[in-house]
Amino acid sequence: MVATLKAQNLTKVYSLGGLLSRNKITAVDRVSFSVQPAEIFTLAGESGCGKTTTARMILGFEFPTSGKLYYEDQDVVGLKDKKAWFRKVQAVFQNPFETFNPLRKVECYFYETIQNFHLEKGGGRTQKLFEEKLEAVGLSLPDIAGKYPGELSGGQLQRASIARSLLTNPSLLIADEPVSMVDASLRMSVVNLFREMSDSLRVSVIYITHDLATAYYISDRIAIMFRGNIVESGPVNQVLEKPKHPYTKLLIESIPQPDPRMQPKTPIQFLEEKEEYLRQGCKFSGRCPEVMEICKQKVPEDISFDDVVVKCHLYHK
């Protein structure tokens, strides 16, 4: 089976500071993963861990410093034909209120996409395609027609955003925190929508989030990122039910449990991003409860246990 998307040692380095005192921050550090057809793959981690930078590189908004990206075995780094690329890969962004210009009607975006990609010619069929995609996300034309973003709820807008991304019949959707701005009562319906789309339309989804509970709920495989590295990856059940890396454990413990009887827990340490990015050795060593001497000196290697890959000295034989 050909992977829909394969990343190999994807790296992005940003320079920081003035002209003379330059710090280099490796926002994404040799990240490799693959996404299978009709699979939901989660990239999880806290803010500033490089998950959005990875998404931006896949979408072609950023040029990787090094590394390769393959779409169905075809090298796509620095692709010239952006339009062809966006027929196959589409994005759903975090905040639906920022996705849409508040002064433009939501439907404009649909007609614009249809026009830009020459999807349909002639009024009648444009309308039909529009309605068909709205239906796929559980909206109807009267919900959207003639309305401005301010007149719709967050859930409806996010659905509209997903419907728009489906116009080109993409095979890969990149969803960057798609539900964090959606209301609690409607959140699960948007989450379920991704599952339905991957099952019925055979769309692969890269689901980027820090919410491990929804990640567990919908995804097939997960990669946990920390300061530019994937520290643990594998099938979602194995990674989240039996976490190996101390960072994965911290993340799981930090989820506010919807149960007042399960109160936390030990206080946590909170370090600034930059400090950790510039750290030698394992970047998590500054707040790892199981830190050893070697962690501060040497970057750990990937170690495989069946399907799970973990980057930690604890498991070094």
Binding site: S153, S185, A213, P260, P264
Partner: protein, 333 residues
């Protein structure tokens, strides 16, 4: 249980006029609450249900287009209840930050992006604390930050140099500097990741335990309510539909809406399908007649469609506004 803020039959509506047509958005519609002291009082509900408007009313900051139609909000100050809406601007200013503080939603917009944090701190302190020199005020701020476990060096930083979680914690620290009795927090952890969120919640819990003050915490995230609030109210379409101690709300949710909210939360280790509440949130311009939840309610009866149930006690401490739960003793589903 001693009340600190009393809300009686509050009706605060937005009155909008566009192109000759008048619209009223019934954001807070007949809300009565008694917010006790020494608690973290949670208000849950989805966006557009009026929870931020309720906070504005609690802060006595009702400005057009928001208008007060009925009811009152009273603060208990030195054992006496004072109607907050009768205070003039000067009196309100004196209560702010010393008696009541407000943490707005986006921490980035709290601080001036082109000034160091200490300038914002000084600005704020100078307008609320009389007769102290700049240096004294700054050392007061440093001391306060240190006490809360934050590095006083953040005062030398610009807002963009801090991460979202740190900025939010500095904003919370700022609002508690003058030891207010009530702190209103509007979605303080939205847009933060779980680890930063945990740090912010930890700070709020520490402050509450240290000063024994009251937090009114507004968020749509039920996980956070389960985590730190001690008592909570569920708001729907401008009305309070359920109110009670948090553990009881989670173990015995009575209102169908609350049941949906709690049962739709995903948990690790459980992959059964979760369902959202059917339908969409109602418009507050034209809310449905009767119980506003009836178009989405799976247990709807004819009575629900034409009369709004009152918020009745189902037990001594747990109240619910639902026709189906009127006679119940609180042991439903």
């Amino acid at each position: 249980m001693n009340g600190l803020i009393k809300v009686e039959q509050l009706q605060a509506f937005y009155v909008l006029e566009a192109m000759g047509k008048k619209k009223t958005v019934k954001a807070v519609n007949n809300v009565s609450l008694n917010i006790p002291e020494n608690e973290i009082y949670g208000v849950a509900g989805e966006s557009g249900c009026g929870k931020t408007t309720l906070l504005k009313a609690l802060f006595a900051s009702i400005e057009p287009p928001l208008q007060l139609f009925e009811g009152k909000v009273s603060y208990r100050i030195n054992g006496k209840f004072i109607n907050a809406f009768t205070l003039n601007d000067q009196e309100k200013r004196e209560l702010r930050w010393t008696y009541i503080s407000y943490i707005p939603q986006g921490s980035m917009s709290v601080f001036n992006p082109v000034k160091k944090l200490k300038v914002t701190y000084l600005d704020f302190l100078e307008s609320h604390v009389r007769g102290k020199a700049g240096q004294d005020l700054l050392s007061l701020a440093r001391h306060h930050l240190e006490k809360l476990g934050l590095s006083p060096q953040v005062l030398e930083a610009f807002p963009h140099q801090l991460s979202g979680g740190m900025r939010q914690r500095v904003a919370i620290a700022l609002s508690t500097l003058l030891k207010p009795q009530i702190i209103l927090a509007d979605e303080p952890t939205t847009a933060l990741d779980v680890v930063a969120q945990r740090a912010v919640l930890q700070l709020m819990r520490d402050i509450q335990q240290e000063y024994k003050n009251t937090f009114v915490l507004v968020t749509h995230d039920m996980g956070i309510h389960a985590n730190i609030s001690t008592r909570m109210a569920i708001m729907y379409a401008g009305k309070i539909v359920e109110e009670g101690p948090t553990p009881e709300i989670f173990s015995q949710p009575l209102h169908p809406y609350t049941q949906f909210l709690i049962h739709s939360l995903p948990r690790i280790g459980d992959k059964t399908t979760r369902k959202s509440v059917p339908g969409a949130p109602p418009s507050l311009i034209n809310p449905p007649p009767g119980c506003p939840f009836h178009p989405r309610c799976p247990e709807v009866t004819n009575l629900c469609k034409d009369k709004m149930p009152a918020l009745n006690n189902s037990s001594e401490i747990h109240r619910v506004a639902c026709w189906l739960r009127r006679e119940s003793s609180g042991c439903h589903s």
